[in-house]
């Protein structure tokens, strides 16, 4: 689906995005741009508006100001084409626990219009990629938290999207599983050339080569490569930069 498409077009482009929830502004003038193969960390404390931003990009909410383009397609005007180009891993686990891994994946494939044979082939392919090739017939209930997340990532990539959105995917995982997941998705991003938007409030999930967007109280405080964000905030580490940008200078001294 993505072959032959113009890779010059950004995988995701958000411009001037504002959204209010019962009169209270949640997002104000948010802008982002993700190119193919870029791993972008959306860094923000709880309540910054990260999930709201995800809900808007996935079009669960649609009352907004501003524009969202996925692979060059405007989300509202070309919803079908835009949705076909994004894969999503939601914050809450969304697998059917009583069904097998394969049944979960083929359901998702059907939601993207794939036939059963194609679905099986891709399910096997993607599961291999996330190191779960043996688990096709396993019930999801029997998998660990980290494995379930990997199944969700395989599911998100099943229809070969250009953009993979992950909303705090490491919530509830132990340290080893978390590190493993961060590492795997970074690798996928390079190997598949897919653009990744990874929301988190955990600064140790940021790799030096990543791009960073710092969101706080519904506004983008800084964005760019790690070094650009450091320069802009006058900090020496990304943790310090995060504190400076999200807490304000007075509180950083703690």
């Amino acid at each position: 689906m993505t072959l032959g498409e113009n890779t010059e077009v950004p995988a995701l482009e958000v411009e001037g995005l504002s959204f209010s929830y019962s009169g209270k502004p949640v997002l104000q003038e948010v802008g982002l741009r993700l190119e193919a193969g870029q791993f972008t960390v959306l860094l923000g404390p709880n309540g910054a508006g990260k999930t709201t931003l995800f809900s808007l990009i996935t079009r669960l909410y649609d009352r907004r100001v501003g524009s969202i383009h996925v692979g060059g397609y405007e989300l509202r005007r070309d919803a079908v084409a835009a949705h076909a180009r994004m894969g999503v891993v939601f914050q809450q686990p969304t697998l059917d626990l009583d069904l097998t891994v394969r049944q979960n994946l083929t359901y998702h494939a059907a939601l993207h219009g794939m036939g059963p044979r194609e679905a099986r082939r891709r399910a096997e392919e993607q599961l291999q990629r996330v190191g779960l090739g043996e688990s096709l017939k396993t019930r999801v209930r029997q998998l660990s938290g980290g494995q379930r997340r990997r199944v969700e990532i395989a599911r998100g990539l099943l229809h070969r999207p250009r953009l993979l959105l992950l909303d705090e995917p490491t919530v509830g995982l132990d340290i080893a599983a978390r590190r493993d997941l961060v590492e795997r998705v970074h690798r996928l991003c390079v190997e598949e050339g897919v653009a990744v938007l990874w929301a988190t409030h955990l600064i140790d999930e940021v790799y030096p080569e990543d791009r960073v967007v710092v969101l706080d109280a519904g506004r983008v405080r800084a964005s760019g490569s790690v070094s650009e964000v450091l320069a802009a905030s006058g900090a020496t580490s990304i943790g310090e930069a995060f504190d400076t940008l999200t807490l304000g200078p007075a509180e950083v001294t703690i």
Partner: protein, 267 residues
């Protein structure tokens, strides 16, 4: 076009698989009408014998009369249950998985409704089989005739449930909705007594029952089971279904609907 069929197959397949895994739900769905049939109807047989009335060609036992109403009850409960699962799915996030599919939202919702309807039809046929062995037997072709009636009824109660699910914020509120929707719809209909009989008892209840779309769903099933077409009932049920469906789709519209104000989760 093929892609649309794959999508439909996927949604229906998932619902059936989930249903097979929920044995308690299946048992509960069957026990409910069977208790009505074996206990309630058998006990009231003497008191409530039903005189000759369409579409029956002869005097019938109360157990025979109550069957289409119980079929409707199975579908009504199932429709509400699938909307309950939509509220649950929305809280748990799997509704989002459905809604980020590239297919148009109205199509996804119709797939979801058809899936729930299929599950209810499986339950109905199992129930009718048990009733058959119990001795309540309709003409064989009647069991085929009711299939389209079951599909329309399944859509009607499913769309009603879907519409309700857009109003219900959380799972906990749902019990109330069940009480205020299922019970009045079932009791204030021709499921348990024919309309003329209700009229003898209370004119007000009769009027309500005559306005209740569920009455017409039950009558449509009743006539179909005896190889007859009750056109008036069919038209009322189809019209009600279309209105409810349109409202439910509107309710799930991201721009105008309730989803815009809810969706839950995270910050």
């Amino acid at each position: 076009m093929n892609r649309y069929l794959h999508c439909l197959r996927g949604v229906v397949g998932r619902e059936l698989l989930r249903f097979l895994h929920q044995r308690t739900r299946f048992v509960a769905a069957l026990v409910r009408p069977l208790i009505w049939l074996f206990v309630f109807a058998a006990g009231f047989r003497m008191a409530l014998g039903v005189a000759m009335t369409d579409p029956y060609k002869t005097y019938i036992l109360y157990e025979v009369y109550i069957i289409p109403g119980l079929v409707g009850m199975i579908q009504l409960f199932n429709g509400m249950q699938s909307s309950l699962s939509m509220v649950y799915d929305r809280e748990m996030g799997s509704m989002r998985v459905l809604l980020v599919s590239p297919f148009p939202r109205w199509y996804l919702l119709i797939c979801k409704l058809l899936a729930g309807t299929m599950v209810s039809i499986v339950q109905v046929y199992v129930f009718l089989t048990i009733a058959w062995f119990y001795g309540i037997q309709a003409p064989v072709m009647g069991y085929l005739w009711i299939l389209p009636a079951l599909i329309v009824t399944g859509f009607m109660v499913g769309a009603l449930g879907m519409l309700l699910s857009t109003f219900v914020k959380q799972l906990e509120n749902f019990a109330g909705v069940m009480n205020f929707v299922i019970f009045p719809m079932f009791f204030l209909s021709s499921a348990l007594y024919p309309l003329w009989r209700i009229r003898e008892g209370s004119y007000l209840v009769y009027q309500i029952a005559a306005l209740n779309p569920f009455t017409y769903a039950v009558e449509m099933i009743r006539f179909a089971l005896y190889e007859q077409l009750n056109l008036e009932a069919v038209m009322i049920v189809v019209a009600t279904t279309l209105v409810l469906l349109a409202l439910a789709i509107l309710g799930y519209n991201p721009a105008r609907g309730m989803m815009a104000r809810k969706g839950g989760g995270g910050d």
